[in-house]
């Protein structure tokens, strides 16, 4: 999409929202803290939702089991980081990263591998049928969660943030947690890679076409099955990465953590419009900001802020902010 | 006299004007063929009349009643019937159920247009009888219990027409009813249309690319080109006109001569 053709309105929504609430918040430093934290939170949400933009957004698979890969990633991280106490205990950010990076890689590999099996046994029979997808992936989710309990136990496991990533940085009077800044960097990388793959290669097109008419794509000579498997695996791996980020953010992990974020990430995708990576990013940022602003201004409404946001967006654009064609 | 008329009917998709200020009236007892190149706006014109699309401007009236603001279902109940160019049925219901649904859709009766919650569907024998009759007329009676999804394309096209017949509207709109239909089968449909014509009280609109069919059936031809009505008149006269010869039939003046 060229620069000119780009639809800027949804992107503008983010700064507009931020500026709109400034007078209500009053103190600029508080506003800054809330805004930066909200944006960074949005980035974390984007990372955990990014896998689903592929699986649900593009492949049109209503994967309720997505959360299980998030949990899996987080639990794998506890094992990896637990074994690398030297590195996580160090005050040096670089040594910390040396521990966190392998944790991410291993989590992605494990989640990807499980994703492969998940696609084969759970998802493959139900492509194209939402209802069955809901049921079977729900079953997959329950099984996955229970298996996590069998392996790691049903208890909450602490996942302490490495020393060097703790604490905050200060912009004047406003505090920003260091970890959130790291999340922003990771989020931008994920976003960039996804966007590039989907717009600069034929993969995005093929998946969208495959969802509409699988047989036709095969008749054109593409091995759509292999592609779908691949995309599903990547989606699962991204969920694993999201799990590491989310687990480190919460600093403890429970087997149910995947189920807990399920609704949230679905909301993000709906706001963003199915299949749009940029939309998912916008959705995540809006959700992050809204949560903080309402939490500060009208805490009672914070519980419903996501839903209200989603309703408002759908009234404006019933297909989400960036709907693919149509 | 119920007369269908469109006045200055226009629809725009972004910058593209698909139907451009078409004013035209259709009299009962006449079969009007609408011809024009692919993308000329024929189907879109139908969509505007039957309410599948909302017009950007202009009006649709039936017997003097303005239907411009009415929904598709309201227009159908008012007497505008329509068959689709791409087959559009209820795939996982049987052939018989498809037709019966159409029979009950526009007529009152104890079933109250399908709003009756508390009677048993199979008790409405009058619906069944009418549906049977229709299936007989399109030679699909022997497949009446088959799911529509399993019918070959040609039979689905026939069923598409049967649904329109079942509505018994004032105005019949056929959109390429014989496309994809074998020459052994097409006459079944054409016979039905002939019978309708004989009735003399119905208004019939027909979009068709097969000129032999048009020549035989049409009392009048209108030509759409780029959304605009460019010719209207006696079949022979219109077919001979240069617009049709060149833009539509692809015959250059020389060849025609």
């Amino acid at each position: 999409m060229s620069f000119k053709e780009m639809d800027w309105q949804p992107l503008a929504l983010v700064p507009v929202l931020a500026l709109l609430v400034l007078p209500f918040v009053g103190s600029p430093s508080t506003w800054l803290t809330l805004t930066v934290a909200g944006l960074a939170m949005g980035m974390i949400i984007f990372i955990i939702a990014s896998g689903l933009t592929l699986v649900f957004g593009l492949m049109d698979v209503l994967n309720f089991g997505h959360g299980v890969f998030i949990a899996l990633g987080a639990f794998v991280a506890t094992s990896v980081l637990g074994a690398m106490g030297d590195y996580t205990g160090s005050e040096s950010l670089w040594r910390n990263l040396l521990a966190v990076l392998p944790a991410m890689v291993v989590a992605m590999l494990v989640a990807g591998a499980i994703g492969l099996a998940f696609e084969r046994f759970i998802v493959r029979p139900v492509y194209g049928n939402h209802l069955k997808q809901i049921l079977i992936t729900m079953g997959g989710m329950i099984i996955g969660e229970e298996l996590i309990k069998v392996i790691w136990g049903p208890l909450q496991i602490p996942l302490p943030l490495p020393e060097g990533m703790r604490g905050s940085l200060y912009l004047g009077d406003a505090a920003v947690e260091k970890y959130r800044l790291i999340a922003v960097v990771v989020g931008i990388v994920v976003f960039g890679v996804l966007l590039w793959t989907l717009t600069r290669t034929k993969i995005g097109l093929l998946i969208r076409a495959g969802v509409q008419d699988r047989e036709m794509v095969e008749s054109l000579g593409y091995r759509i099955r292999v592609l779908f498997v691949g995309v599903f695996v990547v989606g699962s791996a991204l969920a694993g990465l999201g799990g590491v980020m989310w687990g480190l953010y919460q600093q403890n992990v429970i087997p149910q953590m995947g189920a807990q974020v399920n609704v949230l990430i679905f909301i993000v995708l709906i706001i963003g419009g199915l299949g749009s990576t940029t939309g998912a990013l916008v959705g995540a940022l809006l959700v992050g900001l809204m949560a903080n602003y309402t939490g500060f201004l009208v805490p009672k409404a914070a519980l419903f802020s996501n839903i209200l946001l989603m309703m408002a967006i759908l009234l404006w654009r019933p297909q989400g902010v960036y709907a693919l064609s149509k | 006299m119920t007369q269908l008329a469109t006045h200055d009917l226009t629809v725009r998709f972004g910058g593209h004007v698909a139907v451009n200020g078409v004013t035209c009236a259709f009299e009962p007892g006449t079969l009007t063929a609408i011809v024009g190149p692919n993308g000329a706006g024929k189907t879109t014109y139908f969509n505007l009349i039957s309410g599948q699309l909302k017009a950007t401007s202009g009006t649709v009236t039936l017997g003097g009643r303005d239907l411009s603001g009415a929904s598709a279902s309201e227009r159908t109940r008012a007497g505008l019937g329509r068959a689709f160019q791409l087959t559009n049925l209820f795939p996982r219901l049987t052939v018989l159920e498809n037709v019966r649904l159409a029979v009950q859709a526009t007529r009152g009766g104890t079933h109250r247009r399908g709003l009756n919650l508390w009677s048993v569907w199979s008790d409405h024998a009058d619906l069944l009888a009418r549906a049977d009759e229709l299936l007989e007329s399109i030679a699909l009676k022997d497949r009446e219990h088959e799911l529509v999804a399993n019918l070959p394309h040609g039979d689905q096209r026939k069923l598409e027409v049967a649904l329109l017949m079942a509505l018994e509207p004032q105005v019949y709109m056929f959109d390429e009813p014989t496309a994809g239909m074998n020459h052994a089968e097409a006459p079944v449909i054409l016979d039905l249309i002939r019978k309708l014509k004989a009735d003399r009280s119905k208004t019939i609109l027909l979009v068709e690319h097969k000129m032999d069919v048009v020549r035989e059936l049409a009392d009048r031809i209108i030509v759409l080109h780029n959304g605009t009505l460019v010719a209207d008149g006696e079949p022979a006269e219109v077919i001979a006109s240069p617009v049709v010869q060149e833009a539509y039939l692809g015959v250059s003046q020389k060849e025609a001569a």
Binding site: P125, K132, M138, G139, I143, E146, K149 | R100, V120
Partner: protein
């Protein structure tokens, strides 16, 4: 007579008819045939779920609307009874008021949702109802003044259907719970037959048409909005009644009991196991599922005892991991019962004569039309 009762919608399979009859008889005699509180509780829950699941089938199987907010109405019914009985004291009057108020609230909400469902894509609609249901559950626990919050409400029932009402029958001592059970039994039977009647009415057929092809249903003259809304409302009202039944039986209600997503999932699973769009599936599915669910842990206890020596296997078979097996049930039921028990049984019968109509096409045969409203006509 039977034809009238069953609205001319026979099970259309001998095995199916036998199973249905067996379930009916079993439920009718449970209090006398099987001793114990647990069996009675399971049977009562089956009765409630038959109504709940059938009401959902009306929406999902017949109208093709995937809503996750169905338990909301279930909850409204239960809260109606709970709140009225808590506030106004035990009595038939408060039951009537509670159920009445609940029905009205459900009607309004369902109509609103039905109208809204037309605005957005089907898949979005499902996700929205998911969020909506979650919000409603939160709301129910937030309004703790009225609803008792997380802890829920415990209340009493009219004397005759309470455990404290003792009476004698054929020389045996019984209490009011027996009467309560038969009250539920009669209500469930009547409601199920009513729903069977509705889906086999001309209205029911139009719903199926809308499910199949909304665009065309509108084109042949049906006001889809109206039918959809009525269907939403009807299914919500039946769910509300199911909720009331549950509250009457349990004499307790709380957010987890009637509003949780878990129940929604159970309902979905039961519909699919039983067979979507059949109503009968609700009865079979509920009986199968609830019996399995209630006795799964006991069963696993036996199994894990048997393999106590094998560590991993024992861990997997531990009664604490019963959900694992439930999850497996989800997966397997989609694998092996794509058309549900009812569909399976009917297909068995139909398989004999060649070219029989009710045989479903192979799954891959018809490329799935994705979402309603995708029919872009030209």
């Amino acid at each position: 007579m039977l034809t009238r009762l069953l609205s001319n919608d026979y099970p259309r399979s001998r095995v199916l008819a036998v199973i249905l009859l067996a379930i009916f008889v079993a439920l009718a005699v449970t209090p006398f045939a099987i001793p114990g509180v647990k069996a009675l509780n399971v049977a009562a829950k089956i009765l409630v779920f038959i109504v709940l699941v059938a009401s959902f089938d009306l929406l999902l199987g017949y109208t093709g609307i995937v809503s996750f907010a169905h338990t909301m109405f279930f909850g409204i019914g239960a809260y109606g009874v709970a709140i009225a009985s808590t506030r106004l004291g035990a009595g038939w009057g408060s039951l009537a008021i509670g159920i009445g108020a609940a029905l009205v609230l459900s009607l309004v909400l369902a109509a609103a949702i039905g109208l809204f469902s037309l605005r957005v894509r089907a898949i979005f609609f499902s996700m929205i109802t998911l969020a909506f249901a979650a919000a409603f559950q939160t709301l129910a626990s937030q309004l703790s003044e009225i609803t008792g919050g997380e802890d829920g409400l415990t209340f009493k029932m009219p004397e005759v259907i309470s455990p404290s009402f003792d009476f004698e029958l054929f020389g045996q001592a019984y209490d009011g719970r027996l009467l309560c059970y038969y009250l539920l039994f009669v209500v469930a039977t009547v409601l199920l037959l009513a729903m069977l009647r509705i889906v086999n009415s001309p209205f029911g057929r139009v719903l199926q048409a809308i499910r199949e092809n909304e665009f065309r249903a509108e084109a042949i003259g049906y006001r889809v909005v109206v039918y959809r809304t009525i269907s939403s409302v009807l299914s919500a009202l039946f769910a509300t009644l199911a909720g009331a039944m549950l509250a009457i039986w349990l004499r307790y209600n709380g957010p987890d009991t009637t509003l949780s997503f878990e129940i929604m999932l159970d309902v979905l699973l039961i519909v699919v196991i039983g067979g979507m769009g059949t109503i009968y599936g609700a009865a079979i599915g509920s009986a199968l599922f609830l019996v399995a669910q209630s006795y799964l842990q006991d069963l696993l206890k036996l199994a894990s005892g048997a393999v106590a020596g094998v560590p991993t296997l024992a861990a997997l078979l531990s009664p604490d991991r019963w959900l694992l097996w439930l999850g497996l049930l989800f997966v397997l039921s989609v694998y092996y019962f794509p058309t549900g028990v009812v569909g399976r049984l009917r297909a068995l019968r139909a398989a004999a004569p060649v070219r029989s109509p009710s045989l479903p096409a192979a799954p891959a045969a018809s490329p799935q039309k994705r979402v309603q409203g995708d029919y872009v006509e030209n």
